[in-house]
């Protein structure tokens, strides 16, 4: 076996030819330049608060169960019935207006919610098709679209980050005129404490979105990504999902959620429910080809964790922890005078991210002097331009307070602010 010297003689498929390293890989390569680097880039979760004891208890309960240890055997492709039941109940607790039987009937389990997103797009979109996305949007989803040859088109937002109704109407009109409407195959957005913006969609925004799409006769399959819904700081975000927001009844809808972001990312178990019987069936047919079912052990473990209240306990522990860490980073940036320099951001009410806009004219993108200076100063962030389906600005930044300890967050914030001060307001 020798790999080192031979050039590839492989002929790749169209998908293979399109596939590229993630843009973020360039950032990670830059990170290697500085071994003392503090990363507020990755959306990792709080290492200090990982639910070790809860996982251990869960495994002990599984092992102690009478009968055959079926949790170590294959499970069903669509996921364990009991876990689907528990997660459907959890969703109905968050959103009591939902019909449990509908949620449960449409439900399935995936390898993290990322797999649900992949399956959804695989069965809906051919290369050249268009997916409408929020602005900004989840960059792994956007890279996945590019990998599948699918175009992303941003839903217009105003200065306040909210969906801009008249611009949306104009965009949809223009797409109808140009004939692009026929290529729009899906709509995607992160609706609770978004990655990357930290924003949540209001009920009004959801309603106007349905209204404008309906008016444009674009009742396209809609994917609501609720990965961060459980990660509020003080109280749940009040807007219901598209599963029960008026105006969405006519849309085929996929609601994706995850057990791993709010509990332990190392376990990779996602939960989804779909209102459309055929769409769901096709996603499951393809899932059978991917893996014929998510790891049964992880699902069984989550049943224990959910039944034993370990999940709720973990949430009770990490919500104030993330809130406190957000405040540490936020305060560090304020104390350093970033507001005065012209930086803007909103304090999120949940999730893992601060979303910053730089002073006018300051380029903070991946190849910018500012980004390089930050790496040299020992702090890594996600350049915001990765998070736009189109027309990406070069002056936004995603910072994550998820993984670092408070002292490290303070230091990372200090380093970041130092560079920001060095680059000044960049205005005359």
């Amino acid at each position: 076996m020798s790999t080192s010297s031979t050039q590839s003689s492989v002929t790749f498929s169209e998908l293979g030819q399109r596939s590229k390293p993630p843009t973020i890989a360039k950032l990670m390569a830059m990170a290697l330049e500085n071994s003392e680097l503090l990363s507020i880039a990755a959306g990792f979760t709080d290492t200090a608060n990982l639910p070790t004891a809860s996982v251990q208890r869960g495994v002990e309960s599984l092992v102690a169960q009478e009968g055959a240890p079926e949790f170590l055997q294959y499970g069903p492709n669509q996921g364990r019935p009991e876990l689907r039941r528990l997660m459907s109940e959890h969703l109905c607790e968050q959103e009591p207006v939902l019909d449990y039987h509908d949620v449960q009937r449409g439900s399935f389990i995936t390898n993290g919610s990322q797999q649900a997103l992949y399956l959804a797009i695989q069965v809906l979109c051919d290369p050249g098709d268009i997916v409408l996305v929020d602005r900004p949007s989840y960059f792994v989803f956007l890279e996945m679209l590019r990998g599948l040859g699918v175009e992303a088109r941003s839903i217009p937002v105003g200065e306040d980050g909210k969906i801009h109704q008249t611009e949306l109407r104009e965009m949809l009109r223009a797409m109808r005129v140009s004939g692009e409407s026929s290529r729009v195959k899906a709509l995607y957005f992160v609706s609770y404490f978004s990655n990357p913006s930290g924003r949540s969609l209001t009920r009004d925004e959801k309603e106007l979105l349905a209204e404008e799409l309906s008016a444009a006769d674009l009742l396209v399959p809609t994917i609501e990504d609720a990965a961060y819904r459980d990660l509020y700081f003080d109280e749940p975000w009040p807007a219901d999902s598209v599963l029960s927001t008026p105006g969405w009844e006519g849309f085929p809808r996929l609601y994706t959620s995850t057990l791993t972001k709010p509990f332990a990312t190392g376990l990779k178990v996602g939960f989804a429910t779909c209102t459309d019987v055929e769409w769901r069936a096709k996603m499951l047919h393809v899932k059978a080809h991917h893996d014929f079912g998510t790891a049964n052990f992880n699902q069984a473990l989550f049943e224990q964790v959910l039944e034993g209240r370990g999940f709720q306990q973990q949430l009770a522990r990490i919500r104030p922890s993330y809130a406190a860490k957000m405040r540490v980073l936020d305060q560090q940036l304020r104390d350093a005078g970033l507001i005065e320099l012209g930086w803007t951001w909103e304090e999120p009410a949940g999730g893992l991210y601060l979303w910053l806009t730089a002073p006018e004219g300051l380029d903070t993108s991946l190849d910018s002097a500012f980004c390089h200076a930050c790496v040299e100063a020992g702090v890594l962030y996600v350049p915001g331009e990765l998070c736009f389906g189109d027309d990406a600005p070069t002056d936004t930044i995603r910072l994550s307070y998820g993984v670092l300890s408070k002292p490290d967050l303070r230091e990372a914030g200090r380093r970041f602010a130092e560079v920001a001060k060095r680059f000044g307001s960049n205005s005359p």
Copy 2:
């Protein structure tokens, strides 16, 4: 949310339109007719011998480790370095002629080996392309090919099940003449204690395969599926993999293996190593879109299991167990007089399957009277025609002795033989 009454208004992609329920679903639906059914259909593993204690010990070790519980955090997309190291070592123990550094450098971890197969085909094949497959072949792989719009073409075998050199040469010649050769993008086979045939490829077969493909100038990417290699009864199968069999040097090769089939299917961790740098890179780019890494917890758990010898202990336990269960089913069928009725099969030297050929003229396919009679009699098998890329015979059957206990296997064999006797030899 209402799903029950609405017809799907979703427009599906080409892949979505192609996606269908697995053929085996029809069998499962038939199985519902009889609740007392004993299934020797599914390739499940031995429930009585699942490694519960080993898993518990592994989790305890992880929890007891000093430092942050990183095993509950995200891991790298290509898999944990330590697990890749351990699995590369394991492969080099099986095949000492291999260079450890080559194996390790080409290695990555997947959600079971099924995901590696999916990624491999995704980056190699467009709809309409051809993959050469063994005869018979793994039916989930064949269904996956159909889902991706890819055609399977069987490598000709003789009466003895071995690759038939002159027929292979003739087939490759005909494909060159017809121009089909240019659509051949990969070669796939299960080389050790195959699913479904129980056969292993000899060194001679592997060499002649390379020879004929090379002569036909078809140095296509080759996937060797070694999922059952560890599951020998008495001794390892002596033939090396294509990674080190002479004649294969010029071929880009992907060797796939799994930790779940020989240990616990509920854990879903696969291991692969690829000789081609670019092919591997592209599979990993797409994997990042599927899931950005296999569950880190499961990988960390396997590190414990491998380091603590739990894996070897489990193999030492299940090898004689599978051998004994194979003999129970084999003996039951012999005692019932199936040989005299004209049934033929070979005793496997490993794996989970008996591969039967019915007496001439007896139809045992999914829709056959024989298959229905078996379901009525309370025994479920896999109709062999699912396991052929093309030109499927209707008189083969896959039986699995993996999951049932010995008494249940005896009873399942008794029921099967009873139906077989009822249908007789079907010859005048």
